[in-house]
Symmetry: C2
């Protein structure tokens, strides 16, 4: 029997995990033998959402097995963010809300990217297009994904489609969006049990920008200074990663979820480009406060890509 595996990006976040779970649910209801999967550990924020709505995390995979007929990528398309053997498998679909880059197939496929704040918002549309009702637990997962990617609808990536979907889903899930959302974000911002290595890997993504290899890790916090107490350890771990992966730049982004600012730490040979890109000097600790910057995708990746391509 055909078997379709559905998964999001490495260092999974709430949108990636919840979108894989939801799309597998929708596909199963459309008689496709689909299974959700994940490429890494479930973070505290996502685990809070899974516990709240009583859903099991998807299976952890390292490679796509030979029993799999085809795969569906959600919440990413860039191969370096995907499963290691991605170029050997048949990609039948992509559902995503990111830029398109370092992606290719030999054959035509269903590729759907919409410039929304969250993959879950596209999936909420797709339930309607398939004529399938969203159940309470799936509504909770999709809502959690939107809250996570939009920092409770406050990120500049958030569109009216995300806002509408969020209110609709909160209703089905039977939660107060503000109360539930803040609780979930705080669970994700709890770094008390995290090592420096956890913090630079738990939400890290790699990008090709011009000829440069760039990794950007983001951590949410209620109090940024708590994170930078570990600066020395963070620096050691980051320099190890730069060495191992041959990175030109590692940008560590600590985001204040209450004030919606980010303090970044830059390392690597190309760290000077951060000053040019954001027109902010790095201080003696190689850090800079970026006021109003919360979105890696819209406010960091685009600006850095532009700077690297000059």
């Amino acid at each position: 029997m055909d078997k379709t595996l559905i998964f999001g990006h490495k260092s999974p976040d709430t949108d990636t995990i919840c979108s894989a779970l939801a799309y597998a649910d929708l596909k199963k209801k459309a008689d496709v033998n689909a299974e959700p999967a994940r490429l890494g550990e479930v973070n505290n924020e996502t685990q809070f959402a899974l516990n709240y709505f009583g859903v099991e995390a998807p299976q952890l995979i390292e490679k796509v097995g030979s029993d799999v007929t085809d795969v569906i990528l959600v919440d990413h398309n860039e191969f370096q963010q995907s499963v290691d053997n991605i170029s050997e498998v048949k990609i039948s679909e992509v559902i995503d809300h990111h830029r398109v880059s370092n992606f290719e197939t030999k054959e035509p496929l269903y590729f759907r990217a919409e410039p929304f704040g969250c993959t879950a918002t596209i999936l909420n549309k797709m339930y309607k297009e398939y004529g399938v009702a969203v159940t309470k637990d799936i509504a909770g997962l999709l809502l959690s994904a939107i809250i996570s990617d939009s920092l409770l609808l406050k990120s500049p990536t958030c569109t009216k489609h995300d806002v509408e979907a969020a209110y609709e889903l909160a209703d089905i899930a039977g939660v107060n969006m503000e109360t539930y959302g803040l609780e979930m974000l705080k669970a994700g911002a709890d770094i008390s049990d995290k090592s420096a290595n956890d913090m630079i890997t738990m939400d890290a993504k790699e990008f090709s920008m011009g000829d440069a290899k760039v990794e950007i890790a983001q951590v949410n916090a209620v109090d940024i200074s708590e994170i930078y107490k570990l600066q020395a350890d963070l620096e050691t771990e980051i320099n190890k990663t730069i060495e191992e992966k041959g990175l030109d730049l590692f940008l560590f982004v600590a985001t204040d979820i209450l004030n919606n600012d980010s303090e970044v730490f830059a390392a690597g040979e190309s760290k000077g480009i951060v000053e040019k890109a954001f027109d902010e000097k790095l201080d003696d600790n190689n850090r800079a406060l970026l006021k109003g910057v919360v979105s890696r995708k819209k406010q960091i990746v685009t600006v850095l890509t532009e700077a690297f391509s000059k």
Copy 2:
């Protein structure tokens, strides 16, 4: 005022021209300041359709001008098939039915690829999604695109979505699909006024396959032997193109629209790969008959890409 330019691939075919015209019509009805454009000469088949339904060909452009805010690509996504300055402009949308390759953006966009036989079939769906009625002339153009890409619904690329759309559109356009379709295909297969250089450029597409640069030109004919009367001239022109573009392989595909076979001619350093890919010997003229092969996309590009990646 914002200005959006909509165009298909170089060496435009009927799907590329008609999809640009139709999507510009739809966008204008959705209050977007959209203009259709084309990247090359209108071929005989497309001109037949435009004349039949009384529609002007879109403007010819060589580059996207500085007055253009963003562009929408229809019927292609690979940059080498697009306008020369594609990497300098903002791509806001892609509507396509091909594989995804050599495409990237800095920012999220609306990217819609569906594995149908024709871009026009996707556009027919989009008119419904937008709640806009398809007028008689637009129906005629969309139908012509489907007939062209599917060789009157006979190509293996043709899906049930294309068939349904074709019958629906023939009804609105007020034509008998078989009669109109055969007349249109024959107009396209009329090579009496074509030089060898016309034949190798009028429907040519370039592809990256592994590390190889490959160009594949396709010409429809009622009698293939008529085309190969010009073999010596074709060879001269093809060798010039290989030299100029640094190609590893040029595959010339002459397709018999009545019997649904193709006779190919291969040139370039990698021509041997054609024999391996299709398990057919090239004869003394470097030609081979590929029985039942009519689709460049589904029956040629995929097979050659596979062979080049081994």
